[in-house]
Amino acid sequence: MKLAIDQFLEGPKTKAAVDDFLDAHQFPLVQDDTITFVWRGEAEAVHLRHWIYGLGSSQGLSRMEGTDLWHQTLPLPSGSRVEYKFEIVRDGNGHWIRDPLNPHLARDPFGANSVAHGEDYSVPDWIHPDPQCPPGTYKVIDYHSDVLGHSPTRIYLPARFRESRDYPLLIVHDGEDYLRYASLGHILDNLMARREIPDMIVAFTDSTARLTEYANDERHAHFLTEELVPFMESEFPLRTQPQSRCLMGASFGAVAAFSTACRYPGFYGRLLLQSGSFAFTDIGEGNRRGPAFDPVVKFMNEFRAAPSAVSERVFVSCGMYESLIYENRSLIPLLKSTGMNVHFREARDGHNWENWRDRLREGLSWLFPGAFLMMYE
């Protein structure tokens, strides 16, 4: 079947035709494993700015002759999710904007991007508040770390929390971002209510210097293991076996989780690592990603030289459209070779919070299976 944009390009090149075309479709146009981006307006050039590793990061849109309509068609496999912006060039200066024809946005700590979905992608229903699933409660602990200083930590208690029960502990890096951009609070409420994961206590931690503290920093590992966990165990009814302790994080947060587990082998029995910045080199220690990655490369090279079973169950996810897919894919056989139980999920997505959000159900329920398998109504 001919693409809608191709049909349109064969027709009259008039303002009225462009008006009709824009009225008749939703944008971007997703059709037959392709996506067509469209922008209308006067400019010297228009570029598609996206974060799809494997495609050039800047794709120029073509102007339809005689009109002010710009377009670009790219492949988009089924199930894909992509974030993007347009760069509008006027007077020699580029200005990045969201797609005015697309109301869908994906938010992150830097603002928001336009987001488009390939066929067969849908936003999971389990990320939204569900009136059938009672919400947990939160309290902020104004914790002061001896090694890191002020370390406020938000604690989540499950809706059915009872002092007389004991619970697993999940520690989340970049906790506020997981709550704000990955709906982790609603997801915990829903998965616990639906018995897909057990009730658990969650500590949302944050760092004001994540690029240093999360990059295999001894102080950070000390803070979590020698300070936060003992504090949590003294304040809350927690199970103290390794298999009831989980560290999770995304990007540098995943490095923080993994490197902490490596510094304290056997202490954390569960790891949830999303799009980990697991940069390494096969020769030398130089890396193309910048100085922030130097300690990461050193750490990963050491682990790769002598991998060991630092945990029991490790869930790893990564987007196929992010450059870190190479590092994450490379890590999986190494982790498996140690005897750890490893579950790896690739998604047609990028290095962003909604990708990490969409993998949480699978990751959490695999690491902590709830009573789901026991339920026969």
Binding site: Q241, H343, S365, P369, A371, F372, L373, M374, Y376, E377
Partner: protein, 318 residues
């Protein structure tokens, strides 16, 4: 050895999931012509155990909810040391279940890998037999270990040392005496199993009819098998959990099978069926009904059997 196994000389009827109008269980009670009070075990609903008004209304007969979940909470308050030991035992059992599952997965993976090799059908069949035999050995070993742990626990905590539990058991036995039939609902299968064991519900129950649906049906068989081909975390291999009460021999009960099992996957279905043989793997879908009389399967309605060749045998009857 299963110390829980019972014989029942009367009717035992197994059903699939019940919708809000409880049509199958009501029809069954009517056909059995039960004219007296009915004992209800709704422990599978856990903290919602007492929400049985819909069921009571549908049955349209006097009912006595044995409140086993609430009773167990009362025992927990009264017998702190016992409950601490119980909790430790349950943690140990969960760990065993995890290790058993790791072994299962590696055998099943090997079986799947060998099955796609280019070899003669005779050799592949022989290899399949080896895989099935290994799976059966693991299942049996796991059940034995669970039974041993429970037996040791029961010896360490005789009922005579637990006055609170003893009196609760007496109350349950008294309530059961007045009832003409016993209904065990679905829900959390471990919650049902453990509460029935804790209060020794079948100790004084004679040959009066028993009706169980879903989880309540699973606990009446010899082996409780957990299964779901599409869990939220991807894939899952069926695993035995524990022995049941054995009132319905030679049957693996599969509640809601059509929704939970990939019925088009002949290889895994065939392996599962062989693994469970000689027991029949039967669906308990909505509308299904399997009847046992004097410990023998006599009638199967609206069900299907998983056959050893991987076929789903709809309409199978004994």
């Amino acid at each position: 050895m299963n110390t829980d196994e019972r014989q029942h000389e009367g009717s035992v009827i197994l059903l699939g999931p019940q919708s809000w109008h409880y049509a199958d269980v009501t029809r069954t009670i009517n056909e059995l012509d039960i004219d007296g009070p009915i004992a209800l075990v709704t422990a599978g609903w856990q903290e919602n155990e007492s929400d049985d008004s819909g069921l009571q209304k549908a049955l349209d007969r006097p009912t006595i909810n044995l409140s086993l979940h609430a009773r167990s909470e009362g025992v927990a308050d009264a017998e702190a040391d016992f409950v601490a030991a119980w909790t430790l035992r349950q943690k140990h059992l969960r760990r065993l279940q995890e290790f058993y599952r790791i072994r299962l997965q590696s055998i099943d993976k090997a079986a799947g890998s060998i099955a796609v090799r280019h070899a003669s059908s005779e050799l592949l069949e022989e290899q399949l037999e080896i895989s099935v035999s290994q799976l059966r050995h693991l299942d049996a070993d796991h059940l034995q270990r669970c039974a041993t742990i429970r037996e040791r626990f029961d010896n360490d905590w005789p009922i005579s040392s637990l006055p609170s539990l003893e009196s609760q058991r007496e109350e349950v036995a008294e309530e059961l005496q007045a009832c003409k039939a016993l209904i065990i609902t679905g829900g959390h299968v471990v919650a049902v199993l453990n509460r029935l064991r804790l209060f020794d519900v079948f100790a004084t129950w004679d040959d009066r009819p028993i009706i169980g649906w879903s989880a309540g049906a699973m606990v009446l068989t010899e082996r409780i098998v957990l299964f779901h081909d599409s869990p939220p975390f991807g894939t899952n291999l069926a695993q035995v959990l524990d022995t049941g009460f054995g009132l319905c021999p030679d049957l693996v009960a599969l509640p809601d099978m059509s929704r939970r099992v990939h019925l088009d996957q002949k290889g895994p279905i065939g392996r599962f069926s062989r693994r469970m043989a000689p027991a029949h793997c039967l669906a308990l879908d909505p509308g299904s009904r399997i009847r046992f009389e004097d410990g023998k399967m006599t009638a199967v309605e609206e069900s299907a059997r998983l056959d050893e060749d991987g076929q789903v045998n709809w309409g199978w009857t004994p």
